[in-house]
């Protein structure tokens, strides 16, 4: 189960996500601002992960009013980064797939193997209508541990990684 970013987080901030991607420009600036907590490789990983998680919200989230909306929170501690998204998601078209992927990641002996396996499926035409590489990429390329909390229709995804080695 996910915990709320604690007040002892060195810095944290939230954004409202919508289909125009404007929030991600602010996320990029925020990660630059927080560079004392997050070395270059960690910032690259955080930027990639925040992008993929935002795409997840926008692509698979429930339309609220006239567009999909959700929130993203990034909390930075020295040596630790947490990215969290929250949105409403339809079970059949969004939440089920997300939860299934995170569950597979949490029990996999090789995250890389899952990533390659999905690429292989795309190559052979299996499940081609959706890319579904984003969460796998967050775990494999970004080195993030993913977890979720689902209280239908609300879906919360957390991605956390340690950033021990300085650039």
């Amino acid at each position: 189960m996910n915990e709320a970013p604690s007040h002892s987080a060195a810095i944290h901030r939230s954004w409202r996500l919508a289909g125009d991607w404007k929030a991600l420009d602010e996320v990029r600036r925020y990660l630059e601002f927080g560079r004392r907590f997050c070395h270059t490789a960690c910032r690259e990983a955080a930027m990639m992960a925040s992008w993929e998680l935002a795409e997840n919200v926008i692509k698979y989230g429930l339309v609220d009013g006239d567009k999909v909306t959700g929130t993203m929170t990034i909390a930075l501690w020295p040596g630790r980064t947490l990215i969290r998204t929250e949105n409403k998601a339809n079970w059949a078209e969004g939440a089920h797939e997300v939860i299934s992927t995170i569950t597979r990641l949490s029990t996999a002996t090789s995250v890389r193997e899952l990533y390659v396996q999905r690429m292989q499926q795309l190559l052979t035409g299996e499940g081609k209508s959706y890319t579904r590489l984003g969460l796998l990429r967050v775990a494999y390329e970004g080195g993030f541990q993913l977890s979720y909390r689902h209280e239908a229709p609300r879906l919360e995804i957390s991605a956390e990684r340690r950033c021990d080695s300085p650039a």
Binding site: T40, A41, C42, E44, A45, M47, M48, W51, E52, E55, A108, T109, S110, V111, R112, Y115, V116, M119, Q120, L122, L123, T131, L133, G134, R137, A139, Y140, E141, G142, G143, F144, R161, C163, D164, S165, P166, A167
Partner: protein, 115 residues
């Protein structure tokens, strides 16, 4: 650059740019086949940011290349985590249609993700 070489620079995270790229790759694929080009070299060292939809474009292109019996040689920058890891994964797809060449020395200061 000659007709069998291609270079990417910038970022590939914009849906319109990706749609344009898909169209251009389709045209390029047809040209490669028509010209009988056996290998195309794709330099992605200047590509600093992509999303997973862009990686999907590369996967689809590799599939087409495998079907048409030509090879795509990606020149990657091993200091960029996404390039090192994702192209390494692409290399593992079990097809001769893709080769990955790491250009320059790999950095020893960047952290590897845990599996």
């Amino acid at each position: 650059m000659g007709p069998c070489e291609l270079r990417f620079e910038g970022s590939l995270a914009n849906h319109q740019v990706q749609a344009d790229l898909r169209r251009n790759i389709t045209a390029l694929h047809e040209r490669i086949v028509a010209d009988g080009c056996q290998t195309i070299t794709v330099d992605v060292q200047g590509l600093h940011f992509v999303d997973s939809s862009a990686i999907r474009i590369f996967v689809d292109w590799i599939g087409r290349a495998a079907g048409a019996n030509y090879q795509i040689v990606f020149l990657v920058d091993p200091n960029m985590t996404w390039q090192r890891l994702s192209f390494n994964a692409l290399k593992s797809l079990g097809t001769d249609a893709v080769e990955v060449r790491e250009m320059g020395p790999a950095s020893s200061t960047k952290s590897e993700p845990s599996e």
